[in-house]
């Protein structure tokens, strides 16, 4: 594949072939390749991994608010016994969509936001390997998320729970179109995840800066890489399952119809073979994130880098061998239960290693509790609670009591909210200046942190007790007389405290921006936290081309080692200031041009989806748009000649006299072109 080759300077791997004088071409499609660099059009057609990352983050925040409002509805309904705020039918839709939204439309894309923005930066690349594919990944995700949520307005949202056990999803038992939206919506977001996974894997494998061996990569990038491998292998499984479900519902596929001889356990296995790696897809990016934050604010390197990396890889592998712990009560045989019970216990070992290594990083460190650090340490503490409750239900006989009670709900909220989400919020505070050029308010951040911690422990802590008292999950109401009243009320109060904390975060974003603007947008120095990894070598906010000059890497924590040497005791000695080491950001290397086609590609998918549900002709029309998009995409030249006669500056791979490392400058674009070459071939 052309993308694996780093082109020699001065040559572009365009279809014309290396060395041939390149002549500008016009798009063969209906659109000229757009060239805008600002305004909404730049966002809509942009392929810059940073724009894609920001859009992923913004969309995830939007869905986070949607999913949070769903959570509040649940909590108000359950605040008191015999709740009558919403009907059982609506409740089932709300809790299903809360789960689906938070897993597929919040935590996954929030991870994708960070991975898109920072993995290329951390490995010293100018973009991802396939920039247009990256844009398509985001727009496809957004299209899938909006499609899924449009079901609210079209006769009812999915109502079968986020794991949608068959045969309850059969049209007989779930007669609205909700589960059709679930199947097709998640198929669409699955396409987004798969595109992203392939892209980031190729990026990390091929586009690392010179000298950046795998074992010099930052741990965030490592965990991102493991996550992308998990996605690449897990998505096909859920895709198969969803495809069968879609066929069952729309075309009488009979895959899960018991009366036709199906065994509903098939769905359970398919779902959880995906579903368990999925939970590591949710948590590993956050693990990586705090592995960046904790060392920076401890002024120490991450304790036991190899253990951290290998434990992450081990989690990635072992994550495939534990899925049936979701099914201890499902009737699988005792040997299966024993095997999955033991494997589940032992996946706690690499996770424990991570906890201990983070603690060892704190140990002896000079800790600075910025908001980012607070959230990172919050993750270590809260995830520990979730991890330990996880061990208690790895013990399969105990799980026969705990399964499907609120104890499980407590567990996965401690690992997903207390784990993944706290990590991501920490990431927002940590990387905000990198992305937007100014910091978030630390004092509001402190309030945000404490309200989040208090709110989450009030909301999810009592769920442990309720579960042990026998409150099943997914019940739209409960009676007096079970002792559930008090803790449910406490949880509802806690949920509103979380809501306030989220509001505070949004206020922080606005207030911080305004006060920065009022000060005349002062330039935030390149390295506000005295950080360790390459992304901080670029100015804030990151310029479009990332690096003026691709750094040559000699150390793990390269940026730090350019600033500090060590004395004989092993203490850091400053040898250069951040300003001296950081780049100025004023180079103008060639970058991949924007494109309309990812947008067209992505929004053809929900058209097909609506067509499958309502009218097959619409699906065919959507298919035609999709096909057009694929061809338009494939036949599009890497750079649009535009109105410039004779090629335009974009074709010059060595525009402004940068050094030998320039080879990397155009790799993103080249790879994109290379991909076209492959596609064309």
């Amino acid at each position: 594949m052309a993308i694996t080759e780093i082109p020699t300077p001065g040559q572009l791997a365009l279809p014309g072939g290396p060395g041939e004088p390149h002549t500008a071409q016009r798009s063969l499609g209906v659109f000229a390749r757009p060239q805008v660099e600002s305004g909404w059009k730049a966002w809509a057609t942009g392929v810059d991994h940073k724009k894609v990352g920001i859009m992923y983050g913004a969309a995830a925040m939007f869905f986070f608010i949607v999913g949070g409002l769903e959570a509040l509805l649940i909590r108000v309904q359950l605040a008191q016994p015999d709740g009558t705020l919403i009907s059982a039918d609506f409740y089932n839709q709300v809790f299903t969509m809360h789960g689906v939204t938070m897993v597929f439309l919040v935590i996954m894309p929030m991870g994708a936001a960070f991975m898109n923005y920072f993995m290329p930066l951390q490995i010293g690349a100018r973009d991802v390997a396939f920039p247009r594919m990256n844009a398509a990944s985001f727009w496809t995700f957004l299209a899938g998320g909006l499609f899924l949520n449009s079901s609210w307005l079209l006769g009812g949202a999915p109502d079968g729970g986020w794991f949608a056990y068959a045969p309850n999803t059969n049209p007989i038992f779930s007669p609205s179109h909700g589960m059709d939206f679930y199947a097709i919506g998640l198929l669409i977001t699955g396409i987004a995840s798969t595109l992203g996974a392939i892209n980031l894997i190729v990026t990390v494998v091929n586009l690392r800066a010179p000298g950046m061996t795998f074992f010099k990569m930052p741990v965030f990038t490592w965990m991102g890489l493991v996550t992308q491998f998990l996605l690449a292998f897990a998505m096909p499984v859920i895709t198969v399952a969803l495809f069968l479900l879609m066929f069952d519902r729309l075309f009488d596929g009979n895959f899960f119809d018991v009366t036709q001889g199906a065994d509903p356990l098939l769905w359970e296995h398919l779902f959880w073979v995906f579903g368990h790696p999925e939970v590591y897809i949710l948590i590993l990016p956050a693990f990586g994130l705090i592995s960046e934050i904790i060392p920076v604010f401890s002024r120490k390197p991450l304790f036991g880098y190899p253990f951290m990396v290998f434990s992450g890889i081990a989690i990635g592998f072992m994550g495939w061998g534990v899925w049936a712990h979701h099914m201890f009560a499902s009737g699988i045989g005792p040997i299966s239960v024993a095997a999955f019970s033991v494997s589940t216990m032992f996946i706690a070992v690499p996770t424990g290693v991570k906890i201990f290594n983070w603690m060892a990083t704190l140990w002896g460190g000079k800790l600075q509790f910025t908001a980012a650090m607070k959230f990172a340490v919050g993750l270590v503490a809260m995830f520990t609670i979730g991890g330990l409750s996880g061990v208690t239900h790895a013990v399969s006989p105990s799980d026969l009591q705990q399964t499907d009670t609120y104890y499980i709900v407590a567990h996965f909220h401690y690992v997903i909210f207390g784990g993944a989400l706290l990590g991501f919020i920490g990431g927002f505070y940590y990387w905000w200046p990198k992305v937007f050029g100014h910091r978030l308010s630390e004092s509001l951040g402190t309030w945000h942190f404490w309200l989040t911690i208090i709110g989450m422990n009030l909301t999810f802590g009592p769920m442990h007790l309720l579960g042990l008292m026998g409150m099943p999950r997914r019940i739209s109401t409960y009676e007096r007389g079970y002792g559930f009243e008090l803790w449910n009320m406490v949880e509802t109060v806690g949920a509103f405290i979380i809501a306030v904390s989220v509001l505070l975060f949004l206020i922080n974003i606005v207030v911080s921006y305004r006060s920065w603007k009022a000060l005349g947008r002062p330039v935030e120095a390149a390295d506000p936290w005295d950080a360790r990894s390459l992304e901080w070598m670029t100015p804030n906010p990151t310029p479009h081309h990332n690096f003026d000059e691709i750094p040559t890497v000699t150390h793990q924590d390269e940026f730090w080692h350019r600033k500090y040497a060590e004395d004989e005791q092993g203490r850091p000695v400053a040898i250069a200031s951040s300003a001296e080491v950081a780049q100025s950001g004023d180079a103008h290397p060639a970058l991949p041009a924007p494109s309309y086609w990812p947008l067209v590609f992505s929004f053809s998918l929900p058209v097909i989806g609506y067509g499958l549900i309502y009218n097959i002709a619409l699906a065919l029309a959507g298919g035609a748009i999709l096909l057009t998009a694929i061809f338009g995409w494939a036949l599009e030249p890497s750079f649009e000649s535009g109105h410039d006669a004779g090629g335009g500056h974009g074709h010059d791979p060595l525009p402004h006299g940068v050094g030998d490392d320039q080879g990397f400058a155009t790799v993103g674009a080249d790879a994109d072109a290379g991909q076209e070459a492959v596609d064309n071939g």
Binding site: A88, V258, P334, A360, F369, L400, Q401, D404, S476
Partner: protein, 409 residues
């Protein structure tokens, strides 16, 4: 079940079933933790409890140590920051230490794993010999949207199609106390989960499959539970109870339940209700012994009228304690504290079932109802049907039938 002592239940049931209700109502007023997992009342739940208590203990201890450690490190570290002393030593790791905290948890977990697997295999030992008094009797538990039925077969080895279960009942699973009872957990529509926490762990009821579960109630009493696997609209309202009777009482119960319901004659109390029942209710509900206008016995078998194709068999309804998926008590007490049928609750149920238990009351054109539909009976008809339902108990001449009235609260 904490304060509803099983002994009291037995005694009350044995001596004076009529007085049992009010006594138990009082007793259970403070028993609000009736579904918790730490009060085992039977062998299987006890085995689980013996494992889970130390596991919770270890997890809690590790949690306290780790969280405490984090707090200590935070305190020390931020003090160091405030002291503004020189930067810390750039420690990159310690192989021995890290191997240590890889192996130590692994060893701890290996110990837990040994006990886990041992308990697991012990629980799975489903070949427990059935008590000789019961012969070959086999009990199948069926999940339905949104209630449970229980089918007792006296001669399960007879596989001929004529051999149907002798007893088909609902909501209250009646078993003898003190002996292991093997249940076949099944479902007739979607996946449900059978769970009586004080007796045993959960077992999923999966359509098309039969799962074994051995339960034992050490003492006579009533044990609460609830469907755990999300099973659609009214999942929250799908409860179940186990009523454990002493062996002699259970044997009496078995005999009584196998009696058929005599057909009422014109002039009998409840006759009008019976006619309404035959015209309307018997499309879905069966009562053993009932005949239709042609003198044919009414046998509702997988009637095509409901999605799950089954509705509770109402034979000897008045020996049960709860109805509508164990959601409502059938019994209440009169001014003198004696248990009487809760007519108001029954009326409300027959008047508009979906109003008090979420079900699909409006059935789309061409689709089957899910749960009990609103039959549109007049108030008179409702009264008459209830008068008829009150006659649904085994032969009144042999003393009061064993009933589970009011035993819950």
């Amino acid at each position: 079940m904490t304060s509803t002592s099983p002994h009291l239940v037995t005694r009350a049931l044995r001596r004076l079933p009529i007085a049992a209700g009010p006594a138990l109502l009082l007793l259970s007023a403070c028993a609000d933790e009736r579904q918790d997992i730490f009060t085992p009342q039977g062998d299987s739940a006890e085995k689980i409890n013996r494992l889970q208590v130390p596991v919770f203990g270890i997890a809690g201890l590790v949690g306290v140590l780790v969280l405490g450690g984090i707090l200590v490190l935070m305190r020390q570290g931020s003090r160091r920051h405030n002291d503004a002393e020189i930067d810390p030593v750039q420690l990159e790791g310690n192989f021995k230490l890290e191997i240590g905290w890889t192996i130590a948890p692994a060893v701890l977990l290996a110990v837990v794993a040994v006990f886990t697997v041992a308990t697991l295999l012990d629980l799975d030992d489903v070949d427990a010999a059935p008590p000789p008094e019961l012969g070959e009797m086999e009990i199948s538990v069926y999940g339905h949207q949104w209630w449970w039925s229980y089918e007792y077969e006296m001669n399960p080895s007879d596989t001929s199609p004529e051999n149907t279960p002798e007893i088909v009942t609902a909501n209250d699973l009646v078993i003898p106390a003190g002996v292991p009872i093997r249940l076949n957990i099944r479902s007739r529509d979607v996946i449900h989960s059978f769970w009586i926490p004080s007796l045993a762990g959960t077992r999923d009821a999966v359509p098309g499959r039969s799962h074994d579960l051995v339960i034992q109630a050490d003492e006579p009493g009533v044990y609460d539970g609830q469907c755990k696997e999300f099973c659609g609209l009214s999942h929250a309202n799908m409860k179940q109870r186990v009523v454990a009777l002493s062996m002699p009482e259970f044997q009496t119960w078995l005999e009584q339940q196998q009696e058929t319901q005599p057909l009422l004659e014109e002039g009998d109390v409840g006759y009008e209700g019976q006619q309404t029942f035959l015209a309307q209710c018997s499309t879905c509900h069966q009562i053993n012994g009932l005949e239709n206008a042609d003198g044919e016995p009414i046998v509702v078998e997988g009637g095509a009228a409901v999605v799950s194709r089954y509705a509770p068999n109402l034979t000897h309804l008045m020996t049960r304690g709860v109805f509508a998926g164990a959601l409502f008590d059938l019994w209440t007490t009169d001014e003198d504290g004696r248990p009487v049928v809760d007519r108001a609750q029954l009326e409300a149920w027959i008047r508009d079932p979906a109003a008090i238990k979420p079900m699909y009351d409006v059935v789309p054109e061409g689709e089957l109802p899910r749960g009990m539909p609103d039959l549109g009976l007049s108030e008179d008809q409702i009264d008459q049907v209830i008068d008829y339902l009150l006659t649904l108990h085994p032969g009144a001449t042999e003393g009061p039938p064993i009933q589970t009235a009011g035993a819950q609260d």
